[in-house]
Structure formats: structure tokens, C-alpha cells
Amino acid sequence: MDCRTALEKIASKADGLLPREAEAELSGHLAGCPACAAEDAAISATGAVLRVLTGIRARREAPALDAMWTRVRAGIEESGEARLHPSWIARWAWIPAAVALAILALLFYPAGTDRSPFHPSTFDVAVEDVESEAATVALVDKGEDLPRVIWIIEDAKT
């Protein structure tokens, strides 16, 4: 392994990306190369220093972060409870609304122009009287299973 390759592997090692086999190979090179060994020691020390500094900063900011997280969690729980436990009126209000809408639709549709097909249940009709000023009227009865017919023969048009 040459020094250029060793420096690349030292950087990878510092990032935690160096495989074990390559690390063993790198150790072999560092044992025989003081310059690369010094570079490895410096980079490793830098990482340790950075970790220590990060830890110190985290400990310093921890109370403020904990307080902020506590407020966020309390807000989330509060809004969740409001959604999970609405008043019983709000929870069940849609049921009478839906029932009322359905009944209203049945009552008023179609109100003016009923388009359901004719289904008479009886043709039992009594014609008590019949008269016309402008036509001849005939009463036609073709049996109980057929509707009675009042036929208007317009005098001027027949």
C-alpha cells in the first residue's frame, strides 16, 4: 500500500467506513510509515475532540431541549384528547342529520312530477255521472282486469 492510498483509508477509517480487512492492511502500512501514522493519530484525535465538544454542548443545551420537547408533547397530547373525546352531541350529530335527510328525500322526491311507473291495485271505479257541453262521451268497460275508460268524441273534430 502506498501513502496516498493509506491517507484515503485513514479518512475512511475516521468516517467509520473502512472494512475490517482494509483496516488490518492499513495498520500494517502505519507500522512501517511514521508520516502516515502521525496523520492517523492527528485525525483520530480530532474526531475524539469533536465528540467530546459535541457531548459538552449537548449537556449544556439539554435542559432547554427537554423543556421544549415537554411543551411539544403536552400540546400533541392535548389536541389528541380533544379529537378523541368530543362531546356526545358532536360525535352522534351526523346520525339524525343523515336520517332526516333520507326521510326528506323520500317525502319530497319527486314532489311535482312523479315518474315512478303506474302500478294500479284496482280498476274498481264507479262513474256516478258524466256529461259534456262540447262532445259525445262514451263509457267503455272491458272487464274487471282492465281500467274503465271514459272516451270523449269531440263533436267538431269527428
Binding site: 352531541i89 350529530a93 303506474f118 284496482t122 271505479v125 258524466v130 262532445a135 275508460v149
Partner: protein, 154 residues
């Protein structure tokens, strides 16, 4: 930190109460002493061979009773009448029908039916039907055929 309020549900109780009021308090109801009078105006002719499916079970009966090949529903109207009340039904060719509900007993329905063609009174008749019953009034000319009125009472 702002609170999340369930504002979307606030209108639901108001809507429910309004609908219940309309249903039980504000909407007109069809009482037992009222009758629904249904009048369908059918154009019968020999133009084509189609029979309007809206005629329901009466289709075959019309075919067996009359010599026309085509039956088409032109209009259909319904009026809810109480005793003594008259309902107006506009018919094609500026004709009109007036049905007045007369007093009756049991499930019998008595109707005074008047059909006019402008100032001319084409027909005045008093019919006694049972609820669910039907009678036909036909003959007035319309285009190349005639009008047949299907009068039923519920």
C-alpha cells in the same frame, strides 16, 4: 402554543336540529284524510311502435284496449288534495283538468273531474275510486293521435 379546536364539528348539531325541525315541524305532512291524485297525459298514435316504459304495468293493458301502436307519456303531475280542495292539471294543447276531492267513506275516493278546452267543457264527471284505483279518460285529439289521461288516486 396554539390549541387545535375541532371547529368543523361545531355546525353539525345546528344542522341536525334544523333538519329535524323541517321534518317534524316545518314540512307539510300527508295526512290520512288527504288524497294524492296522479294524472299522466299519454300521447297515443300510430306513429312508430314504441311504448313508454314509464307507463309501467299499464303498458300491456293500453295495447290490448286501444288500436294505437305508440304510447308516449307527455307529462305527469301529482296533487295532494284534502276534501273540498281542487287541483289544477295543465294538459297539452292548452287544455286543463280540474279535480276536486269530494266527501266519501272508508277507502273510497270521490273525485269531481272537469276537463276543459279553453271555454269549452269537454267533460264533467264524478268518479268513485278506491285508493290505488285508476281510470282512463281519452279521446281529445293531439297531433296525429289522441290524448289518454291516466287518473289514479292514492
Amino acid at each position: 402554543m396554539p390549541r387545535l379546536e375541532p371547529r368543523g364539528r361545531a355546525g353539525a348539531p345546528v344542522l341536525s336540529l334544523l333538519l329535524l325541525f323541517l321534518l317534524f315541524g316545518g314540512a307539510p305532512s300527508e295526512a290520512a284524510d288527504t288524497v294524492s291524485v296522479d294524472v299522466g297525459a299519454v300521447y297515443a298514435s300510430n306513429e312508430g311502435t314504441s311504448i313508454d316504459p314509464a307507463l309501467g304495468t299499464i303498458r300491456a293493458k293500453l295495447h290490448s284496449m286501444f288500436n294505437y301502436t305508440s304510447y308516449r307519456m307527455l307529462d305527469r303531475k301529482r296533487r295532494i288534495l284534502s276534501v273540498g280542495e281542487a287541483g289544477e292539471f295543465e294538459l297539452p294543447d292548452r287544455r286543463a283538468m280540474r279535480a276536486t276531492l269530494l266527501p266519501s267513506r272508508g277507502d273510497k275516493v270521490r273525485l269531481l273531474v272537469q276537463i276543459s278546452d279553453g271555454p269549452r267543457k269537454l267533460l264533467t264527471t264524478t268518479l268513485g275510486l278506491r285508493r290505488g284505483g285508476m281510470v282512463l279518460v281519452g279521446g281529445p285529439s293531439h297531433k296525429a293521435g289522441v290524448l289518454i289521461l291516466i287518473i289514479s288516486a292514492e
